[in-house]
């Protein structure tokens, strides 16, 4: 009787156990993410309250009377205990209300929906170019280690580390916009095209294609080309450097020797046996690089008057616009968590050792 009892339920519990494990994974993910965000909000919130900037004063201005000032304080909820303020803020965030920005006089959520796509568009183009060029260049340098090709690539990559972004932006603008007139100047689009296409995704390139307006598309391209190229240069330099050092490790390893002993052609040795194992660390490097670009490159966005999140965050900080600062920080946090989760998924797909 006993062996039958244990034999019967087994097939039915197996999928259930798998399901339970999966749901525990999801629950764990939700919990860690929630804690991460709570921590992020708490730190930003309390730093915002500790710094010697008075949000109420920022609203009413220097010449307000004491009564006006007090009224603004009450309206902003600043008269309540700090911890209560924080709880109220968290509650608002949960319902999607990020508060009002005092610089733009619009809801912060609305502002972010406008500025984040601008950054997303530029960062995505930048990282795409960075990966598509940086990875092959890094592999090439590693394969030709010590030759002049390697030296040239290394110097190029070093420049990407050491040249300041704003300098490259200004020189680029002076040369290609003011001098040669090959590209359009600062901003996302020329002023007379502004608002011509209906924002669907907020990405101008995509929206103009959806609208079928190729004039706007062309104009947007000529605006984004220069800043995106400069961003691409920085991520390319970093990615190429890391790819090169990962590849050098692999090329000296025993399993690459094994591949050569088998009599495989060199391209297979390089791309199958040396490159495949480095895809995992490369995903991390690329993910971090992308996250960094998505935070908004303040320098590039300032030089190119790009209405992105870096620009928005800086302006908000300078104006003591705490709701906007918190909102933008939250977006950056979401980006980081999302990219980390995506890297984890990619890990599991690429490395058999990471399974389970």
């Amino acid at each position: 009787m006993a062996p039958d009892m244990s034999a019967i339920p087994q097939p039915s519990t197996r999928p259930a156990r798998g399901l339970r494990r999966a749901s525990r994974g999801v629950a764990g993910f939700v919990l860690t993410t929630a804690v991460t965000f709570l921590g992020l909000l708490a730190i930003t919130f309390f730093i915002g309250r500790v710094v010697p900037i008075d949000p109420a004063l920022a609203v009413v201005g220097d010449r307000a009377t004491q009564e006006q000032y007090e009224a603004a304080r009450v309206a902003l909820g600043l008269d309540r205990p700090l911890f209560v303020q924080f709880l109220v803020y968290v509650g608002d965030v949960m319902t999607g209300d990020l508060g009002q920005s005092i610089t733009t006089n619009r809801p912060v959520a609305e502002d972010l929906a406008r500025v984040f796509p601008a950054t997303l568009e530029m960062a995505t183009l930048g990282i795409l170019a960075g990966v598509l060029i940086g990875v092959p260049v890094g592999v090439w340098a590693a394969v030709r280690q010590g030759t002049w090709i390697d030296q040239v690539i290394r110097i190029f990559a070093l420049m990407g580390y050491s040249v300041p972004a704003f300098w490259l932006g200004l020189v680029g603008l002076a040369l290609f916009y003011a001098g040669l007139g090959w590209v359009a100047g600062p901003g996302r689009i020329d002023i007379f095209y502004d608002g011509l296409v209906e924002p669907v995704t907020g990405l101008l390139l995509v929206d103009s294609l959806i609208a079928g307006d190729f004039t706007v598309f062309g104009n947007a391209v000529s605006h984004i080309v220069l800043p995106a190229t400069i961003l691409a240069f920085f991520s390319l330099a970093y990615i190429a450097r890391m790819t090169r050092s990962f590849m050098l490790d692999q090329l000296g390893s025993e399993h690459v020797t094994t591949a050569r002993v088998k009599g495989l052609p060199e391209w297979k040795v390089i791309w199958v046996h040396a490159f495949r194992p480095i895809r995992v660390p490369l995903v991390t490097v690329i993910g971090l690089s992308y996250a960094q670009l998505l935070e908004g490159s303040v320098m590039i966005e300032t030089v190119f008057s790009w209405p992105g999140i870096g620009n928005y965050l800086t302006t908000a900080l300078l104006n003591a616009d705490m709701n906007a600062v918190l909102g933008a920080t939250l977006v950056v946090g979401v980006v980081f968590v999302a990219i980390n989760r995506l890297s984890d998924v990619a890990y599991r797909l690429l490395d058999p050792r990471a399974k389970r």
Binding site: E254, T257, T258, R260, V261, G263
Partner: protein, 277 residues
Amino acid sequence: MSELLTIRDLRVSFPTHQGRVEVVKGLDLSLGRERLGIVGESGSGKSMTGRAILRLIRPPGRVTAAEMTFDGQDLMALPERRMRALRGARISMILQDPKFSLNPVMTIGRQIAEALDAHERPSRGERRTRVRQMLERVRIADPDRVARMYPHEVSGGMGQRVMIAMMLIPRPALLIADEPTSALDVSVQAEVLELIDELVRDEGMGLILISHDLALVSRFCDRIMVMAGGEVVESCAAADLRHASHPYTRGLIEAVPRMDETRDWLPVLDRAARAGT
């Protein structure tokens, strides 16, 4: 016995801050379809000799030889393309540690099939059958399951058997085994060596067994070469090892403890004996 491999005056050198250093200094060797053991301590140049035969020493390392012929072909003059056709297919090599010498992100079955595909054009079915047969020949009980596994999922002994399968599947004429058991547990060392021995006999291959273990080499090989400091100091039939004359070899033999011994002190290798070299 027909000569499989002939080497005269093989030299391998690497640049260092103090100028080029020769790690193999004029090695002569001729091998038929027999089992040759190369013994020596770390840095004696034995591994470099194995790699030089396969032309796997990459710049800035430099290899020169008055003669290096395999089966009538001049290995030094062969273009890289022809050399690739030779690697794996005619001359193969088993590396030391399966933990590092197998590709971590590729299944075992694919790695073995790849060695076959590099030299033949088997059909899908034929490839599957031959991989399974090869795994069975290296005494892997459940070949289909193992073929789907990744190297980190198998033990060291099994990993090394996979390595042997991979290197023997295109049926090479010469197998170089570079310390094939030194990374394994003592309990599986004999098993793996016996397996290599059996397969080498079955196929009538030539074998170069590189090891630092004198006793082990003398048990599995017909002939023995002792290397020290990049030079061959002794070359004799395995059976004659006891009558070895060179002080370095004598030193090695003396330093091996025996079950029935009464010595209070185990002698230390006297490196001064070859200080002049």
